[in-house]
Assembly symmetry: C2
Homo-oligomer: 344 residues x 2
């Protein structure tokens, strides 16, 4: 755990150092580094949203258990999730595909089929891009634009002490699916396939992001790419607050609850640190919380689940029957309440 936490902070330090090199952004750049998308104020009342994400073979996926069609879907989905995290609507994408020279080129078309399926489902036009040889392994970079009304845009900053913390769906299934793909486990076939699908083909929560932005129901918003522990820490740091979440309130599906013991994993741990759920995590003032179920229901969405609340201070505390523990920044990896600190 320690090495991963250090890796995450090294990453953040590197990105900060890189952007120091690039100097201050011009005034029309509303958001540069430090949120899910860059946001630029063009003429008119909309902000232009812009993101780019790269998936790299052996880092983000393994082709021994990742069908290329699903990889194409996911490459767009992770970018769509960044647009969702601003409350925006996606528009146009460019694809840069790094293809290993020795890999059959017809696979690139299979990947494109999955990408095109996601593009149709979420109303994105893929309008350009290129292919390059990539001797070091397959790499898929997508860059995606979107728009959001300037008055509606949501960001990581904005949460206030007293706000409630919500998530748009159950957590940890993608992490369980990855474990199943890596290790292979005997379990009910239908359950196994559902968990694997959660990992391979996440569904970006664009509609939920739109509901929150349009109806002004969130004070801060982030998408769950690295897990609640890490991503709620990002939101808290951007907002200058802390958070307390209740272990018993973390939404865990019956499927995950059934699968976790077979994987030898704690479902709460998978839910909080597994990553790649691509649900939205947001904060809502208590006075508006009663409006959430109806607003989500009108959009055909299940109601969001409250996890806990924003508090003054810093850090993310997890409260369980065993006590309280600071889980700030613990993404992508194990943590256990009973671990000694030096093991974490």
């Amino acid at each position: 755990m320690k090495s991963k936490t250090q890796a995450l902070s090294r990453e953040a330090a590197l990105i900060a150092a890189l952007h120091e090199r690039f100097g201050p952004a011009p005034p029309e750049v509303i958001l540069g580094i430090g949120d899910d998308c860059a946001a630029i104020s063009l003429d008119g009342s909309d902000y232009f949203l812009w993101t780019m994400d790269t998936l790299v073979e052996w880092v983000h996926f393994d082709l021994s258990y990742t069908p290329l069609e699903k990889l194409g879907w996911k490459a767009l989905a992770v970018n769509l999730s960044d647009i969702a995290a601003m409350g925006g609507e996606p528009r146009y994408a460019l694809l840069s595909l790094g293809w290993p020279p020795r890999r059959d080129r017809s696979g690139a078309l299979t990947l494109a089929d999955g990408l095109a399926r996601a593009a149709r489902e979420y109303g994105v036009a893929v309008i350009g891009g290129d292919t390059v040889a990539s001797p070091g392994g397959l790499a898929v970079t997508l860059t995606l634009t979107g728009v959001v009304d300037a008055a509606q845009m949501l960001r990581r900053a904005g949460a206030q002490a007293g706000d409630l913390v919500y998530v748009t769906g159950t957590l940890g299934e993608a992490a369980a699916g990855l474990e199943i793909l890596k290790r292979g486990v005997e379990m009910d076939q239908e359950l196994k396939e559902a968990l694997i699908e959660a990992h391979l083909a996440p569904r970006p929560q664009l509609q939920a992001g739109r509901v929150l932005a349009r109806e002004g129901l969130a004070t801060a918003l982030i998408d769950l790419s690295d897990g609640v522990a890490t991503d709620l820490s990002h939101l808290c740091r951007a907002s200058g607050v802390g958070a307390r979440i209740r272990g018993a309130a973390v939404p865990i599906s019956t499927g995950l609850a059934a699968a976790a013991p077979l994987l030898g994993r704690d479902p709460l741990q998978l839910a909080l640190t597994g990553g790649e759920d691509y649900q939205l995590l947001f904060t809502c003032p208590p006075a508006l919380a009663a409006s959430l179920p109806r607003a989500f229901s009108r959009a055909g969405l299940a109601p969001p689940r409250a996890l806990g609340e924003i508090v003054a201070g810093a850090g993310v505390m997890l409260v369980t029957e065993e006590g309280e523990v600071d889980i700030s920044g613990r993404g992508y990896d194990h943590f256990r309440l009973d671990q000694k600190e030096e093991e974490i």
Copy 2:
């Protein structure tokens, strides 16, 4: 040669097949696949330009002779050249940096220094991006936006029979610089450094592109990334015409003329097929040709050089004292007029 030509057409076929998957673009997308940038009609009189280019270790650069600072410059320069090729002005960029885990991370800051230097020189704001681990080698993806007045935008299509073919500067130096870096050759130190600099730190011709667009002096425009033989073929195909260029008119610097024999290379071959010059190649109606020198001079630019003319038909013919040869699509590699066809 044959295998490279086949590789180029395989690449084009793959890109075409990919984009078939993505279906037709919505009507506001003025240009999708098949030009240097995508162009989208937003509100107002400007088109939004958008490009993305990736440089991959061992494919596009070798770190044994490529300083990271220069690589950062070049990663932005090749994207800027795409904006220049539309007559546009660059605006904002995002960086996705794939960094090998075992490489010293301080090198990423050196790369960013070069990128930031190019950004300052050409008025680009780098406003976001991310870093990912890249076990297969360093990869730099930049995505860049720009704007151009809708009435001024230049594209690959538009050349007409009778138009003259021009280039904005001398050709082949970047290719000679690459040969020197790869093989090491004894020659005048100052000349050697100038040729190497042409390869490592190309200068995108944004001002020339703006002059041509603003003053309506070009019917078609492309940047020279792959060499005249390949890129003029692209322009001709997009325009539905052919071209004849005169070997004696191809601008070759005295430096290249001096260096080529030491490299055992034909300077004309380097100039036509070397690639990576990032000069602009454009077509101009004869009636407007007299205006070019003054328009370029007012912008502080050397006059463009006429290479030949656009003709009805297809293909790119090179005319020399030895006769005529079709050089369509011969980029990045040797060709010789005296080679038998099966060797090409």
